[in-house]
Every structure is written in C-alpha cells, then in structure tokens.
C-alpha cells in the first residue's frame, strides 16, 4: 500500500482531491472486508479508514454506534481486523480509526507494530488529544505510522496550530461541533477552519463528519484536500451489501462521489 504522503502528492500532481471512505470493520462481517475495500477502490476511493469497533464510541452518532455494536456482536476483535487488512492489501492507504483503549490494552508498541505489519499507513484516535498523545506519537513514529489528529470548529488558534503541525499524513478537520453522522447540509463553519489550518501547515487537510452527498463533497473540496464519508457508507453497506450483492451499485455510488471531488 502506498503511504498517505505519496497518495496526497500524487493527487496534488494530478490536480485532484482525495475521496476518503470509512467502513466499520466487522459490519458487514469481517470476511467481507477485502471485497468491500476492492469495490471502494474500484469506485475511486483514494484513502480508506477502517473503523476498529469499540464498546463505548463517544465521538460517534447513532449510525456508527449501531454499526460498531453489530460488529462487536459478531465477535469482531482488533487482531482479526488487522488480519483482514493484511488479507485485503488494497492499492490505497488504509488508516485505522478507533478509540484509545483498544490500542492501550495490547500495549501501544505492540498495537503499532502489528498495524504496521498489516500494512496500515496511519491511525486516527477519536478520543486522544495532543496533550495525551506523547506516548502514542513516539510509538507510531518508531513504527513508521502516521498519526492523524482532529481539529474542531471549537479549537482555539493555538490548538489548531498544534494539531496542524503535529498531525502527519493529513489533518482531519471536523466539519461541525458534533459527533459523526450523515447530515442534510455540510457545516458552514468548515471553510474558515480549513482556511486557518492550511495557513499553518502544508500537510493536507481533509474534512469529515456530516458529509454524505456528492454536493457536500464538491463543496468541501473547494477548500480542502479531501472529503471523508463515513455514516452514509456504513448505512449503505448495512442495507445493501449482501455477500457482494450490490457491488455494482456501490462502485457506481463511489464513482459519483469521486466525480464530485473533481467538480
């Protein structure tokens, strides 16, 4: 798998923006993950976030909560997620997204090394802020994994600068004050946030939370280097993916989203 840096550099060279897609590992069942990732890549996904399900996802809205719960009910374990990623080896970078306790429990080093061995390019921890991230930053750097930090509309300028300069791979700009979940409208605070961040770093900035439609993607890609779509896809997969059935529709939907990044 290419690194996040290579991927964003290549996109920039082509004058393109990144389509970043989130799926919860284990929902649909984990044995489907390689096929799903393949379909996403065929549709034009540039980066894939693989959610590691956690029992208490405080940063997630109802869609990803329910999805995480289904994944846990199916017995999905972090080790199995890494195995599935190893098997899938998509041609785009995989970024793990999850909560700190599932990384802390096996030990940060062990987690980072196993993730690296699985080909993971970066990690997003929803409930870690820079002040608490020293250990993780050291360990992830040693393992050669990017640490993507989140910037929020409520972040002060000093905090934004710290996030912008410490985030590697990309900076995750949270589009609104809130949890994950598909919204009818993309937030209006986001242009200012992205503008501020881009003035502070050359690291690419992607926008997520509440983005579900090609129009949102197009609007976000006016200002940012990429758009992240999660809940919409999680819902779509839960409703339509049946052992690969629905694949053609999925590829078409992802193509429409990718087209919106170019608009």
């Amino acid at each position: 798998m290419p690194t996040l840096a290579d991927t964003f550099a290549a996109l920039k060279a082509k004058g393109e923006k990144a389509l970043v897609l989130y799926v919860t590992a284990g929902d649909p069942s984990l044995d489907q993950l390689p096929a799903i990732l393949e379909a996403l890549v065929e549709g034009g996904a540039d980066v894939i976030e693989v959610g590691v399900p956690f029992s208490d996802p405080i940063a997630d809205g109802p869609t990803i909560q329910a999805s995480s719960q289904r994944a846990l009910d199916r017995g999905t374990r972090p080790g199995d997620v890494l195995e599935a990623v190893t098997k899938a080896q998509p041609s785009v970078p995989v970024v793990l997204m999850g909560y700190y306790n599932t990384m802390l429990r096996p030990g940060l080093s062990s987690f980072a090394q196993r993730a690296k061995a699985a080909g993971v390019g970066g990690v997003i921890v929803c409930d870690i802020i820079l002040e608490e991230a020293d250990d993780w930053v050291k360990v992830s750097q040693a393992a050669g994994i990017d640490s993507v930090f989140l910037a929020a509309p409520t972040s002060t300028p000093e905090r934004l600068r710290a996030v912008a300069t410490n985030s590697t791979g990309f900076v995750y700009a949270v589009s609104r004050t809130g949890v994950t979940g598909a919204a009818q409208q993309a937030g209006d605070e986001v242009a200012r946030l992205v503008g501020d961040l881009k003035g502070m770093t050359d690291t690419p900035v992607c926008v997520g939370f509440g983005i579900s439609k090609p129009e949102h993607v197009a609007a976000v890609c006016q200002v940012a280097d990429g758009a992240v779509i999660g809940s919409w896809l999680v819902d779509w997969l839960a409703q339509n993916w049946r052992e690969g059935q629905g694949r053609a529709d999925l590829v078409a939907a992802v193509k429409a989203l990718k087209a919106a990044t170019l608009a």
Binding site: F54, S55, D56, P57, I58, A59, D60, G61, P62, Q65, A66, Q69, L72, R77, P78, G79, Y99, Y100, N101, T102, M103, L104, R105, P106, C126, D127, I128, I129, E131, E132, F149, L150, A151, A152, P153, T154, S155, T156, R159, V163, V174, T177, G178, V179
Partner: protein, 392 residues
C-alpha cells in the same frame, strides 16, 4: 489560595483528558471558571449559603447504638441521606450549576443511574431557572421509575438511552455526545468524580464538605477521629468527598464496590477490586474490560453503583495503599439494608447499604473499633424494588 487541581489533571498515572478535540476548550473554560470561583470568598459564601438554606446542611453524624451493641463496634453514620433530594449528589449538582451560570450557560445536561444525580440536577435547575435534560439508561428508567417521575415533575426532560447495556455507562456516553454537539451553550454536570479533567478534582472539592463536616462533628462528639471510615464506591463521588476529610489522619479508609452476584462470577461492578487500568469516559483509571479493551457489562442490584469505571483519584489511592477497596454482593447489601432499617430506623439507599454490609462480616474489625460509615443516601427510591425482592 493555592490551586486545588493538579495542573496535569493527573493523580499519579491516573486521570487525564481522553476526549474528542471539540470538548477541550469547554474543559479549559470549566477548569478556569472553577479555579477562580473556588478561590473566591464570594463564590464560597454563595455555595455555603445554598448548602445551608436549600440543601439543609450540615447533615448530622448519628451514633448507631443498637448495631454497635450487636456488633461490638462503636458505629456512627454520616447522614447524607438527610440532604434535600435524599443523597449527597446535590452537593456537586449545586456547585456545578453555580459554575454554569458563571459561564453563562443556560442549558444543563446530566447522566443518571439511580436517578439521584438526575433528581439533584433537575432540582437545582428548577431553583435557578436552567433548562435541564437528563440521560438515563432504559434499564435504569425501569428500575427507578419514581425518580423518572420526580425529574419530570421538576421540569426536566428525561431521555431514555437504549444503546449498549442501557445503564449508567451508556447514559454517560449519550450525555458526552450531546455535549460534543451543544458545547457552546450547554454545561454537562457529571454526577460523579469520574470523567475528564477537571471533573474528578472539581467534583471531589464540591463533595469534600462531607468529610470536612464529618471529621469536625466526630471529633466534637468522640474526642478522636474514627478508627475506620467506610463509603460505597460507584463512580466514587461520595467516597472521595468523605475520605478527603480523613486522608491526613490515621483513619483506615475503605471503599466498597458493588460485588453483584460475587466477584468470582464476573457479574459485578467492581473495577478497583477486579479490573485493570484503561481509558473510559475521558479518564485513565481502573476499568472492567476484556482482553481487547472492550468495556464489560456490569451487574448490581444498585443502579447507582452499576458502572464499569471509577474516578481516577480512587485508582491512585488504591495503588498508593492509602485506601483499601473491597466489594459487597447484592445479597450482603440487601441484608444490610434490612438490618439497618430494623435496628436503627435508617433506610439506606441500596448503594449506601453496600458500605454497611462490611459490618456484618464477622471479625473484620476488632471489638470496640470506632467506625464511621457514610450513609450516602436514603432508600425511598428503592422501596418498590425492595418490596419485590424482600418478603416481609
């Protein structure tokens, strides 16, 4: 006055702030507001006045003569059950509501397990004219129906939580999500000494009135501090507030967690007795978790103790050895509940009954040991459940 909060938000290795970035400015604002207020004589006076005139403090220490005769100990109880709304929870709800008003926040959210913290919060919101939304697990709404009604009567909206285990932990998750979404105009009154910095230290300070009063009252009556202090531990707010009065003394301090069906069955809510450190609800502390770091379901007859985590300072006090932690089972707590009612005319909350349960274990303390138990709340809310479980 020196800062009362550890600046790192740590108690040894425990505590910290593991939250979405969105919340950090609100936690900073809360910390700054609290530091300023707590150092200000006007705020202290305002807080003390409401505690006296609205809550009914100071609460007395009552000597428990019949149980003393039965056990051979010298037993007394700190009567937090006599607070307005029936438990210690209102000390903290009041303090935080005053802070919310200082921050100009007009909407309050809270989580509740037994409903005691929800009722306390709804009460202070009615007192001050603040909008109040309380998250409560569906399971707990059933277990504590009367408190749901009380909150509604006080003008609060009760939002049942159907995710996860449908108990306190999930109510906390939902309240956190609400806060992440509405952080600009909403203050989240966490009901226990857990959560991200500055909550554990701030809640302890608001609850420390328990220990401060208890120590002075006990000294006045008995001429010495107690040999032993006992409190039940859910998230740990009544216990930390009570223990805080005695940390500098020789008093042996014991926290009692919910042993549920028994520690050996795995069906309990005793992270200090049988858990391991991890991160839940914004803090690094002892936790009931499986080998993957997933939070485990808990079990207790008492909704207020039915929580897989615990306040960070208790983790620290456990590891330093200053406080001992143990667990009482549902059966032990129910036996103590009845025992205290029949022999002292005190009907404790199920939570508080866990603390008294230790006194029924033969030979745990030497005869004549002076013991002070924190009676954190009264059992009115548990009457319906008790009437189903106990046949009299």
């Amino acid at each position: 006055m020196s800062a009362v909060l550890p600046t790192s938000g740590r108690f040894g290795a425990f505590g910290g702030r593991y939250v979405p970035e969105t919340l950090v400015p609100a936690l900073d604002e809360l910390e700054a507001t609290f530091q300023t207020a707590w150092a200000s004589p006007e705020f202290r006076q305002e807080f003390d006045t409401y505690l006296r005139e609205f809550v009914g403090r100071p609460t007395p220490v009552t000597d428990c003569r019949r149980i003393s005769a039965l056990t051979g100990y010298v037993l007394s109880a700190k009567r937090e059950d006599l607070n307005h709304t029936g438990a210690h929870k209102i000390n903290n709800a009041l303090g935080q509501a005053l802070l919310a008003m200082r921050m100009g926040k007009k909407r309050i959210i809270a989580e509740t397990g037994a409903g005691q913290h929800g009722v306390a919060t709804a009460t202070v919101c009615a007192l001050f004219g603040l909008k109040c939304d309380v998250y409560m697990g569906e399971e707990d709404c059933k277990r504590q129906e009367l408190n749901v009604f009380r909150m509604k009567l006080l003008g609060a909206r009760v939002i049942p939580v159907s995710s996860g285990t449908k108990t306190l932990k999930d109510a906390l998750n939902e309240a956190m999500r609400d806060w992440v979404t509405n952080v600009r105009d909403t203050h989240y009154i966490i009901g226990t000494a857990a959560g991200p910095h500055p909550y554990p230290a701030m809640v302890r300070e608001f609850q420390s009135v328990i220990g401060t009063e208890a120590r002075a009252q006990y000294l006045e009556r008995h001429g010495v501090v107690p040999d032993v202090g006992i409190a039940c531990v859910g998230g740990g707010s009544n216990a930390i507030g009570f223990f805080y009065g005695f940390l500098g003394d020789q008093t042996r301090l014991i926290g009692v967690e919910a042993g549920g069906h028994g520690i050996e069955t795995g069906k309990h809510a005793a992270p200090l007795s049988a858990g391991s450190p991890g991160v839940l609800h914004g803090s690094y502390s002892y936790l009931m978790q499986d080998e993957d770091g997933q939070v485990m379901p808990t079990e207790s007859v008492s909704a207020g103790l039915d929580y897989p985590g615990v306040g960070a300072e208790h983790s620290f006090l456990k590891d330093t050895g200053r406080v001992e932690y143990t667990a009482a089972t549902d059966d032990e707590a129910l036996k103590a509940f009845r025992w205290l009612a029949e022999n002292e005319g005190l009907i404790p909350a199920f939570e508080s009954a866990h603390a008294f349960a230790l006194l029924q274990r033969p030979g745990l303390f030497a005869p004549g040991t002076r013991i002070l138990v924190n009676l954190s709340g009264r059992g009115d809310k548990d009457m319906e459940r008790a009437s189903q479980i106990l046949s009299l």
